[in-house]
């Protein structure tokens, strides 16, 4: 590529995972415009090439190819869902283009593939964070419920695998479909188990319905959700039933409530203000795109070229990058670069997020 830096992206802007892809795209567009207005990177303008996968893995593969072959992008920041990321990875790895995924599954970076990175916390981290909190409350018996999409399934697998490490037994294991309209049956089973808490992995409308159904059936157990519901929308949908729900999430949701000494605060507040001024309430998902974009561009900046290998190496050399999800320090063996501390445990109180400490 000549005098522009081409950033390619394929996102689920429509379809079931549009709540991921939509803020991600907006974030990319907003910041690239901003960067270009400020003179670009090394004097080069940044160009964004984007395709909407509609959440379809097959399309993701073709669009990845299209980005590589036809648009000849320098770096790819995209892949809203784990499914579309995993699907396009073989092609991207084969072509050797640096790729920063915005999807959650731990499988993307474990085992590490040479060209693929990611910015969101993994589902394994989410499960660990939840279990830590449960441990602190003395909970040992947990009812698990999850959506049967990629996110929920993967979260469920991690939750099942990690439970013994935290001395936790899973006493119920239920699931629901993406478009199910009522989860009372599953929740009824949970009610008759001897669980001390409930953990739900899922996104979209499902978790909100689960939350409402749980309260309707008069279950008063602590309810944990995953980072899949880390947007204001969840509180809107679940309404009163959301009170007391806990979830692990990036600090972005509570940016204003952070201590001023918090290293991330400046970045978070800046992102939040910029995004909300233009589009409305932030979600953590757009933040992942922010992190991915800046990690990529800073690597290109440091590499002083768009040579693919050089950029890849520089991404691996990312150190202490303060993003919205946490502080990233990557390496050859760690293509995520976040620690468990990047997650904050939040609780919904009075229709708003609150930090649990």
């Amino acid at each position: 590529a000549g005098d522009t830096i081409k950033v390619g992206t394929f996102l689920s802007v429509t379809g079931p995972a549009s709540f991921l892809g939509d803020p991600e795209l907006k974030t990319l567009q907003m910041y690239i415009e901003d960067i270009n207005a400020k003179g670009g990177i090394d004097g080069k303008q940044v160009e964004l090439v984007h395709y909407d996968t509609g959440g379809n893995a097959k399309k993701a593969v073709n669009f990845a190819k299209r980005l590589i072959k036809r648009d000849k992008v320098d770096v790819i920041v995209g892949g809203s869902t784990s499914g579309s990321t995993l699907a396009s990875m073989p092609e991207i790895e084969k072509s050797g283009v640096p790729f920063i995924s915005l999807a959650g599954s731990v499988k993307i970076v474990d085992p590490v593939s040479p060209w693929t990175f990611k910015t969101p916390h993994t589902d394994r981290m989410a499960a660990s964070k939840v279990y830590l909190d449960m441990q602190a409350r003395g909970i040992t018996k947990v009812a698990l419920i999850s959506g049967d999409g990629g996110f929920g399934k993967s979260g469920r697998a991690q939750s099942l695998a990690l439970a013994p490490d935290f001395g936790i037994t899973i006493v119920a294991d239920e699931s629901y479909g993406r478009k199910d309209t009522d989860m009372t049956a599953q929740v009824t089973n949970i009610r008759s188990s001897d669980a001390q808490a409930i953990l739900n992995f899922g996104f979209g409308s499902g978790p909100a319905i689960v939350t409402k159904n749980i309260r309707q059936l008069g279950i008063e157990l602590p309810l944990y959700q995953s980072h899949g519901v880390a947007s204001k929308k969840f509180i809107d949908l679940a309404g009163d039933a959301a009170e007391g729900v806990r979830l692990p999430a990036a600090a972005l949701l509570v940016a204003d409530k952070l201590d001023d000494s918090d290293q991330q605060k400046a970045v978070l507040v800046a992102y939040k203000n910029a995004y909300e001024a233009k589009y409305g309430p932030v979600s953590t998902f757009g933040g992942h795109a922010y992190d991915g974009l800046y990690i990529a561009l800073e690597a290109i900046d440091r590499a002083n070229s768009t040579d693919k290998t050089a950029v890849r190496d520089q991404i691996e050399a990312t150190k202490g990058f303060v993003g919205t999800s946490g502080i990233f320090t990557m390496s050859k063996d760690d293509h995520l670069g976040l620690g468990l501390d990047a997650f904050r445990m939040l609780e919904i109180r009075n229709g708003d997020w609150a930090l649990v400490e």
Binding site: N56, G83, K94
Partner: protein, 331 residues
């Protein structure tokens, strides 16, 4: 007699395009997808267009083929071609097993049953993650190789898929133009009269169902190796509908119609991506418009147009009314 004139022209175009544009995304990548979809559409057309049946679960066979190849080559390190054959065999068995109960049904009931079958297969792929990889899918599928040649570039894949795709069309043309093909259409025209002429219609319907399922399985195996990754959502209800749409939009009971439908329906979204949020609106509109103004299908419409232009038939001919020749109601 030039029964295959159209086929030769089409084959020439398929062969020439990559020679003229060897590194063009729309030729080698989208083109390969089109050719793959052609296999699916041409196969399903035998069942829907000619035999007059309906299947809303065809993607399931596509998926079974793909997963057979994926699982056997990754988990059991079976030779890819062997895996493909095993997939075909598996689909043969499954299609035969479901055919008997399912093909008892007619019309919308058949649509529902095939749809249900498709959904069940998809749920199994999602739930049985221990071998299927679940919703996250299954990756690292080795590529195909032929005589020691790895099929590892888009161009080679184009060639590979083109070969099978052309073979599929040829087979379909041959079948239609034979006793077996007339059997299919007779089942469509009047099942009982066909039986009275000695056609074992249950067997006919089963055979064509199995055959079109095997077309799909073949396409699935190719797809798995080409993409090196499979996940259940590629084989869901939506894709089943898409294949049916290809067949109908192109023009039912016409092999070239199915080909045409596959081309249009693959290219359309690929070109509409630039419209972003308007994509769905436009796509839906085009689909409706196409069927409203060309209810017989694009291909039939175009060939008729060309023929009338060539024949210089003057004078407007009124639209034929759908005079009902049969007494029976649609069931």
């Amino acid at each position: 007699m030039n029964r295959l004139k159209g086929f030769y022209v089409y084959a020439a175009v398929v062969a020439l395009l990559p020679i003229l544009f060897p590194d063009n995304y729309f030729v080698t990548v989208v083109g390969a997808t089109i050719l793959l979809n052609v296999i699916l559409a041409v196969g399903l057309n035998l069942f829907i267009g000619y035999a007059g049946q309906i299947s809303l679960g065809h993607a399931a066979f596509f998926g079974i083929g793909a997963y057979s190849s994926a699982v056997l080559t990754t988990r059991f390190e079976l030779n890819a071609w062997l895996a493909m054959l095993v997939g075909l065999g598996l689909v043969y068995v499954i299609a035969n097993l479901v055919a008997r109960p399912i093909l008892k049904l007619k019309g919308h009931y058949l649509a529902m049953a095939t749809l249900g079958f498709g959904i069940i297969v998809n749920i199994i792929l999602v739930q049985e993650s221990s071998w299927s990889g679940g919703p996250d899918g299954l990756g690292d599928i080795p590529t195909l190789s032929l005589f020691g040649f790895d099929i590892d570039t888009d161009l080679r894949w184009y060639g590979m898929i083109a070969f099978f795709s052309l073979a599929a069309i040829l087979v379909s043309l041959n079948i239609i133009d034979s006793r077996a093909g007339r059997e299919l259409r007779a089942v469509h025209g009047s099942e009982f009269a066909a039986q009275m002429m000695g056609v074992d219609t249950v067997r006919t319907r089963t055979n064509v169902f199995v055959l079109s399922a095997m077309f799909a399985s073949l396409a699935g195996s190719l797809f798995a190796h080409q993409q090196a990754f499979v996940s259940p959502e590629s084989f869901g209800f939506g894709f089943s509908i898409e294949i049916v749409t290809m067949v109908v939009l192109g023009g039912m009971a016409s092999t070239y119609g199915a080909v045409f439908g596959a081309i249009v329906l693959t290219l359309l979204p690929e070109t509409l991506v630039v419209f972003e949020d308007y994509e769905m609106l436009i796509f839906g509109g085009i689909l409706m418009g196409g069927m409203i103004f060309m209810p017989q299908g694009l291909f039939v419409f175009l060939t008729q147009k060309i023929r009338t232009v060539l024949n210089h038939r003057s004078g407007p001919s009124p639209k034929p009314q759908d005079a009902q020749k049969t007494l029976e109601c649609d069931s």
